[in-house]
Amino acid sequence: MSENTMMLITGNDLLTGAVIWWTGSDWSVHIEDAIDAGDAAESIAAEQEAARKVNVPYLVESTMQDGVPRPNHIKDRVRALGPTVRPDLTIKPDTAANAIREIV
């Protein structure tokens, strides 16, 4: 992994199914709040899943870009925002148009 690579932890909220990201102490629906979990990522994910704080967690390789983690794979970039065809249903409807352009 390069120096810029981050290891994020993501999963879904058990009750709502919402996409959530590990912030270091809790979970957020905003990827901007995500931190690099580094080598501890796997153990944190397992611990949080066991405590039912997150459902089906997995690790996402990302790169910091303009101060915001950018997942390396498009699937996780879509997950972080919401459906590109329904800007009104994305996590940030007001700025979705720009964000959608950044996804691809």
């Binding site: 879904n12 009750l15 709502t16 199914g17 919402a18 899943e49 699937k75 879509v78 459906p83 065809v85």
Partner: protein, 544 residues
Amino acid sequence: MYLYDQYDQAMVDARVAEFRDQCQRRIDGKLTEDQFKPLRLMNGLYLQLHAYMLRVAVPYGTLKSTQMHALADIADKYDRGYGHFTTRQNIQYNWIKLEDAGDILADLAKVEMHAIQTSGNCIRNISSDHFAGAAADEVADPRPYAELLRQWSSFHPEFSYLPRKFKICVIASDRDRAAMKLHDIGIQIVRNDAGELGAAFYVGGGMGRTPMIAPLIRDFVPLDQLITYAEACLRVYNRYGRRDNKYKARIKILVHELGAAEYTRQVEEEFAHLLDQGVEPPFAELKRIRTFFEDPAFAQSSAAEIDRSDPDFALWVDRNTHPHKVEGYTSAVISLKPVGGIPGDASAEQMHLMADLAKDYSFDELRVMHTQNIVLPHVAKSDLHALWTALEDAGLGSPNLDTVEDIIACPGLDYCSLANARSIPVAQKISERFAATGKTAALGELKLKISGCINACGHHHAGHIGILGVDRKGVENYQLLLGGSEAEDTALAKITGPGFSEDGIVDAVEKAADVYLSAREDGERFLDTYRRIGMAPFKEALYG
């Protein structure tokens, strides 16, 4: 329409209570996700890209208006105001909360609906011709047979853990409007030389990563042996279908590897064994079911002539209606494919409107098409203009059935956790491109189908033009396919060559369309021209 008896209702109500308890145990931590996953999938609850997704069964695509209203209410109350009609004639909700799942199933049960067997390795929702019971060319209404199969397959203990999922389709005309030969079992109700009705069985078709067209294994099964023969087909599969490799577990692989003749021999042997085992339900049950599908009270003197003086209305009539078996009536298709829209999506408001229109103009009936549109099957021609006006006012009057704008598209990477590429934006761009260039009318019938991954939910193998989204090192890439058909001339499309970018695939589709426009002969559809001139001219235009 079929109405639940006390057994149907009791089974569905019991399942609601059971699943409500399972959801609560998951929330309370008494079930792990690994334990809960197979239970939620048995009730159509997936965990998708952004949230839980609930797939609700619409048996053989038939709905009454109260059911469509209930689907709209669920969209409003529990989701984000819309639903997505699928290529399996079902509806999916994309933003479901786990804590609401039990309440949703309870609401569905009140209108005789459920989400049972919409996932998992079991017999899925039975699909059928969306014009069933209305089409002028059918030998019988296929839905009573589909309903009998639904009852037989629901909670069937022997077939609840098959090697892989299992899809059955029933039609009753030589025109195939339901992709019958691309199902695990395709059944065509036919009439023999003696005038008796029976069932032709096609087994081992499917799309996915290994597309195959089902071979005919029996051309006539008497109707009082229908279930027994289906059971024999399933038994051979359940016994010998591969459970060691998910990608080789569908029945099409078994039929292919055994050969159709050997598979048929084994089925016939099993069938002979089963005939005296009492598998077949009493014929009286089929007769009972048939009574639910009797014709509505059609008017005897409904006006047969349509006033075509409004050209927009005339175009919609030409494209979006289908011949009805009763003089003075027609089947009207409500397109869920506005230019630039999301194929198959309907808002709660639109669902309510379609339900109201069905009540006013179609004897309370609607159908979901596998092409992600909605049918009002029994509309008096004298009511067509009023219907069209109401649809136009609601943005549901697109006159584009079977044109290049009537695109099948799976949810793709915008919603689906299995997808490799987005499907919907490609569909939107293609419909916008052809609407802008004005070529749609000239192209005539051109069936375009897009899948966002190899699982082929968007039926790309069967498109006159098919598009398959793939992942090329983390970047979306789109393969172009030509020459498929899901009609009675079923054919699998072939890949043209290297794939294209998102914008490139839109250009590529237009180039392929232009080849057709310049090469076609009188009366030829795109598919006819492709079959006559072959792939070479298209490849030259695309890559030359």
